[in-house]
Symmetry: C2
DNA sequence: TTATACTTTCAATAATTACTGAAAATTCAA
DNA sequence: TTGAATTTTCAGTAATTATTGAAAGTATAA
């Protein structure tokens, strides 16, 4: 085996390890394992990949590859582009980790935090005028939680549009 | 129906809505739906609840109630206590939202972020000395991601031990 | 002790979620 | 147009995850 081949294998092995563990991390945070793996694959790819390439690399079906790529594109984490002279669509990932994080935070805010806040506000309202110690303490807790989540929503809003250069100084302030 | 009954029903309905939607939110973030519901139930309870009370309220089996309560206790989100003169164990939830958030963040850091960082460091190391543009860019990305996650780990570390009074001033600074 | 109340475990089962693959739809060059 | 290339859909199936419930285990009062 040549030195170049060895190097290639080692690179492939390291990529594989990353793809696998990124998938596991994703599923711990409620993101479909395969989706996270497809994302990881594109994050490490040095050129845009076709659906067929993704299928082959991850050993998944066409349907699965297609829907994963569509969903990632829906999140804005990857974009499709058509190479001149080719029919197939090629996909490339956003690789700026600050942008990636901002996108994910922003989407989760929209999809989960905002709806949860609506429920919370309604529950808070429903318990507002009720009599009795039980009702009072329930209402108090809901109020605390709602306030806390509104703060979280605002922070996520900020992070969504943040840049590395903008956030880092504040992080340092927080960390000192 | 009396005014008191009406009030009780309305309180129960509001509680139910919260329990249900808290379960949904949890499962979106990779936390078992029932676990989140048990937690929500205890968060709104005005007194410690027994396993049987949880079973009855949520219409779940003894095994499920028991293991959910154990897991929540393992996270440190609830504690068991034995009322004098009673055999049954009663459970009560930590209700300070800042503490709750700190616990959850701390646990997820330990369980997911720290192990993910280990993988990341290993991948980074494996690609460090490899030749070729592909290897270089892969290594560069892994480096960025590792640095980003180390920052995240440190922030989670801070939040884990944070108090409302300590964090709020910094949040204001961030939000301004 | 011993009987009883209570808790835990875990094999079997149910419910949910993810994936496949082939057919249908779409796109595009000729 | 036509038809080959490509993408999308989705019914059927597989894999995973969650739940039940009864038996085994444990603790406690008498």
């Amino acid at each position: 085996m040549t030195a170049t081949q060895n190097s290639l294998n080692e690179l492939t092995a390291a990529k594989d390890e990353f793809v696998t563990s990124w998938g596991a991390l994703g599923s711990a945070w409620g993101i479909n394992r395969t989706l996270a793996q497809v994302h990881a694959l594109l994050l490490l790819a040095n050129e845009p990949l076709t659906t067929d390439a993704v299928m082959k690399e991850l050993k998944i079906s066409r349907g699965n590859a297609n829907s994963s790529l569509r969903e990632l594109a829906g999140w804005g984490l990857i974009r499709g582009l058509v190479k001149k002279g080719e029919r197939k669509e090629h996909f490339e990932a956003e690789k700026d980790i600050w942008k990636i994080f901002g996108i994910v935070i922003g989407e989760r805010k929209r999809r989960e935090v905002v709806p949860a806040l609506q429920v919370l506000r309604r529950c808070e309202e429903r318990t507002k005028a009720l009599k009795g110690d039980d009702a009072k303490s329930v209402h108090g807790f809901l109020q605390d939680l709602r306030q806390f989540m509104e703060m979280g929503e605002k922070i996520m809003q900020r992070v969504e549009h943040s840049q590395k250069g903008l956030v880092m100084p504040l992080v340092f302030k927080f960390m000192r």
